[in-house]
């Protein structure tokens, strides 16, 4: 092995050489063939892309992407010291990989990572209270971050950390989104055309052609967050009616949204409700699968939840913790989230993969993501209707 500091210098030099590369034009509804996003950026990129390729995933969805703008790791203060990070979720170990890359760049930086479910992690921090050994809480669900913030256990993030991210994803600066997860309707392209997918989730139960051919995963957290959003936006009565109508029309249950998306690709169902990246994951493993994504507009079906991070108030490494969160928002880390977890990047200038529409094009509903932690009434509603 070579001297680690030498490695680091070379690494950062490569990143620096790439400079401020061109911004990818967002490509709109290009389908999932991964054709156009970022190609012009690739053309503009000069010099080495070593910095990005280290962070970037492989496979058809990640191909042909160039260098993008945003704050580079080289522009940020160094990470040095030790952090304890509680991870809620973690994308099957992918977040762990990102941390490993950061540790490679900074030999003096060490992260103690604890993974558990999003709610388990939040409940653990709440149970630990002021004595928590965690410096950072990084979770794939905004509701769990808000729950910890509500207990007064988070430190307000400075403007330098949150400024690159749209306001929606740091409503009170107690936490900040680092990767977006959009609600979507994966549909089978043999059964439906893009125009055949309703523009609003609210009208889905009224569509006779979709009766008996939709799938959902009601025990899944992301689905419950979607119903919570509907309850907040449309009221309890309308949500109850919507749920009942879906049940009456005949909807197939799955235990999670990967299976929903997989079933769509298999043609078991024509369309379903799922977070957007699951269909991309199916697509990545089976490039010929007849599956594409549709997004509804301005309603609960267009909700964009976020994986995010919060610095915990009791930490004595606040500075380092803030810098760590800034690294999660660096162009390189954002590229990581975009190309490996197929999430929506949170900073401007990094496009999502595979011709996904940009966040601006999505028109998500106007909703405070912190309110998604108020799950109780949602569960009661779902039980009442008999879907839970």
């Amino acid at each position: 092995m070579t001297d680690p500091t030498g490695d680091r210098r070379r690494f950062l030099a490569a990143v620096g050489a790439a400079g401020a590369a061109g911004l990818a034009g967002c490509s709109g509804f290009g389908g999932l063939d991964g054709s156009d996003a970022g190609t012009d950026a690739a053309a503009n990129a000069s010099g080495s892309t070593a910095g990005f390729t280290e962070f970037r995933g492989s496979g058809p969805l990640a191909e042909g992407r160039g260098e993008f703008g945003g704050t580079r790791i080289a522009d940020l203060p160094d990470l040095s010291g030790e952090l304890t990070v509680y991870l809620g979720g973690g994308e099957g170990g992918l977040y762990r990989d990102l941390v490993s890359i950061l540790q490679e760049i900074y030999p003096d930086f060490r992260v103690n990572l604890r993974e558990s479910g999003t709610a388990d992690a939040a409940n653990t921090i709440i149970g630990e209270g002021e004595a928590t050994p965690a410096d950072v809480f990084w979770s794939v669900d905004a509701g769990s971050l808000a729950a910890v913030a509500n207990e007064g256990l988070t430190a307000t993030l400075p403007a330098a950390v949150v400024d690159p991210v749209p306001q929606t994803f740091h409503p009170d600066d107690e936490w900040v989104g680092v990767a977006g997860r959009a609600r979507s309707i994966p549909y089978n392209t043999d059964a439906l055309s893009a125009e055949g997918v309703p523009e609003s989730v609210m009208t889905i139960p009224d569509r006779p052609d979709l009766a008996g051919s939709m799938g959902w995963a009601p025990t899944y957290g992301a689905f419950q967050a979607f119903v919570t959003a509907m309850r907040i936006l449309e009221g309890e009565g309308t949500t109850r009616e919507w749920l009942s109508a879906m049940v009456e029309a005949g909807v197939t249950e799955y235990s999670n949204e990967f299976l929903v998306s997989n079933a769509v690709a298999d043609g078991e169902i024509d369309a379903g409700f799922a977070n957007h990246y699951y269909a991309l994951r199916v697509q990545a493993s089976r490039p010929d699968a007849p599956v594409d994504l549709a997004f509804t507009s301005g309603d609960a079906g267009g909700l964009i939840n976020a994986a995010g991070a919060a610095v915990l108030a009791p930490t004595d490494a606040q500075q380092l913790a803030n810098t760590f969160v800034r690294h999660l928002l660096s162009a390189e880390a954002q590229e990581f989230f975009a190309t490996r977890t197929y999430a929506y990047p949170m900073v401007e200038g990094i496009p999502p993969v595979g011709g996904l529409p940009s966040i601006d094009e999505l028109n998500p509903p106007d909703i405070d993501l912190g309110r998604l932690s108020n799950l109780q009434p949602t569960l009661e509603l779902m039980r009442e209707v008999g879907v839970l």
Binding site: G90, A119, D120, G129, A131, Y254, S285, L388
Partner: protein, 541 residues
């Protein structure tokens, strides 16, 4: 010491009263301390419960949801426990007392389902029998529709298939320690086997059967994975949902947990009543020669264990193998690859937990087996409560206490091992206590008369005789620790990855292909721990 002499003599000649002073105060204090330690996490529940306004608490406990959940839980416990007895007892009789072909093989195979974690078993079932499962795909073209697996029938079926071995194992142990000459005597009196079974065997194995049934009932009450996957609303599923909703949900989860523990207490009290009288020490080890010839029904009888094996082992292993074969890039995902070190971590922590549990179970079991006092009884029963505490709730309770009162132990192996002890102590207490009861008291009396001190008698006579029970308890604790997920996720030392936490990590993100290999390793390694369980009773000698 001399003050206790009369009690010892009375016990030795079989006149043991209910004062129970055969056991020294040291043992009683030790047993009491163990019980108090494992009950301590309960304090967290009480503390949380006081945060709730009593009126709100009452309305929650009496709400339609809560009543329905209570009814569902009781129903599930009733169905699974009865079904486990109906499955476990005949299998035990077949493999111990008949000339079933391949008896030894079946003994191993029908005990093995215990090593399959319920979340894997249930998942395999949904994947095979679900509305869009493999079997539906396979049979669909032939016009055969697969019955639904969700709700009570599916949950009860899957739970029964994976927990009935508790009954099988305890019944088998009772049958093995049963003196065949009694059966022969009954049969010389012209009783048929069935009549002899009813009159002679059944009364003597009742305690074994109920001990297994109790473990089944408590497991069903505390299991979260199966009802969640099979969509049946029981306490644990609702507790979990409430915990996921924060704020008031946490308080609700606490109340429901307390209600669950109250149900457990009732089950424990009921079991004490039907537990049968087991004061007799029938020290003669039984011969393992089959006593019943099945004649030409031998092969028909073999269909029962064969069918059970098909549904409990072949099916989940087949589904796992399919995931393994099928894993393309999208199923494989990223992250840390599976490492043998995870299996080593699992084995290490499970072995430590098994050791710690039997050491702590010994005073409780010895005290309960040797004394008839109410305190001995209460101590033993109390250790069962922790077994019915859902893992998440226990984990969060230990987070709260650990960080406040034992910060040096927080997120270290000792605290994790303590959590396992709280969860699994009754498994070791049960089998050890049976062994203690099985020790012929006249032997102890003889040793004392010969001038051996109580301690020396214990070490030289009792301990060797109860060793098989301790070993069986250790094996049970080992394999249940191997598959315990919730407490491990919450309390593991940072950076300590085990088989189950790895399986959880990849499966949570939908990378089933990645879960297959560690799941198979888990099943195989846990399967090895069945060996001491099955050697018990000298069957293999």
């Amino acid at each position: 010491m001399s003050a206790e002499e009369p009690g010892r003599v009375r016990a030795a000649v079989g006149l043991g009263g209910d004062d129970g002073d055969e056991v020294g105060p040291g043992v009683a204090a030790l047993a009491g301390a163990v019980a108090a330690a494992v009950l301590s996490p309960l304090a967290w529940l009480l503390l949380r419960a006081t945060e709730i306004d009593p009126a709100a608490a009452l309305s929650l406990v009496t709400s339609p949801t809560a009543t329905e959940v209570l009814a569902n839980s009781l129903l599930l416990v009733g169905v699974v426990t009865s079904a486990s007895v109906l499955l476990g007892v005949p299998l035990a009789v077949l493999t111990v007392q008949t000339d079933l072909p391949f008896r030894r093989l079946w003994t191993v195979l029908v005990a093995l389902p215990l090593v399959v974690p319920s979340y894997i078993g249930a998942f395999a079932y949904v994947s095979a029998f679900g509305p869009n499962g493999e079997l539906a795909d396979l049979l669909g073209p032939f016009g055969v529709s697969v019955p639904t697996v969700y709700g009570l029938p599916g949950t009860a079926l899957v739970l029964t298939l994976f927990v009935y071995p508790y009954v099988f194992l305890t019944t088998r142990a009772s049958l093995l320690s049963f003196d065949d000459s009694q059966l022969e005597a009954a049969r010389t009196l012209n009783d048929g086997y069935l009549a002899a079974f009813r009159r002679v065997i059944l009364p003597q194995i009742t305690s074994g059967v109920t001990a297994g049934a109790l473990l089944v009932a408590l497991y069903v009450l505390s299991d979260f994975g199966t009802p969640a996957i099979m969509r049946f609303d029981v306490f644990t599923r609702v507790i979990y949902v409430e915990l996921n909703s924060f704020g008031v949900g946490r308080a609700n989860a606490t109340l429901l947990s307390l209600e669950l523990l109250a149900v457990t207490a009732v089950v424990l009290a009921l079991e004490s009543r039907v537990g049968g009288d087991e004061t007799a020490g029938y020290g003669t080890p039984a011969s393992a020669t089959p006593v019943v010839s099945l004649g030409r029904y031998r092969w028909v009888a073999a269909a029962l264990p064969a069918l059970v094996t098909l549904f409990t082992l072949a099916l989940p292993v087949g589904v796992l193998a399919m995931w393994l074969v099928r894993s393309g890039p999208g199923y494989a995902g990223g992250g840390l690859a599976f490492r043998p070190a995870f299996a080593a971590n699992s084995v290490y922590v499970a072995a430590v937990a098994a050791g710690a549990t039997v050491v702590l179970a010994l005073p409780v079991a010895y005290y309960a087996g040797r004394s008839d006092s109410w305190f001995a009884r209460a101590t033993e029963r109390a250790t069962y409560l922790g077994y019915a505490m859902p893992g998440v709730v226990l984990g969060l309770a230990l987070v709260f206490f650990g960080i406040r009162y034992a910060p040096a132990l927080y997120q270290t192996l000792p605290l994790l091992v303590f959590a396992y002890v709280v969860r699994f102590l009754p498994q070791a207490v049960g089998s050890t206590r049976s062994s203690v009861l099985g020790v012929d008291r006249q032997l102890l009396g003889a040793a004392r008369v010969l001038g051996a001190s109580r301690r020396r008698t214990f070490r030289r006579v009792t301990l060797p005789l109860v060793a098989p029970g301790l070993l069986a308890g250790a094996a049970l604790v080992f394999l249940t620790t191997m598959k315990e997920l919730d407490t491990t996720l919450i309390l593991h030392p940072t950076g300590f990855t085990t088989l189950v936490t790895y399986i959880w990590r990849v499966q949570e993100a939908g990378y089933y292909g990645r879960a297959a290999l560690p799941a198979l390793v888990l099943v195989v390694v846990s399967g090895l721990s069945m060996i001491p369980l099955l050697r018990q009773g000298g069957d293999d000698a």
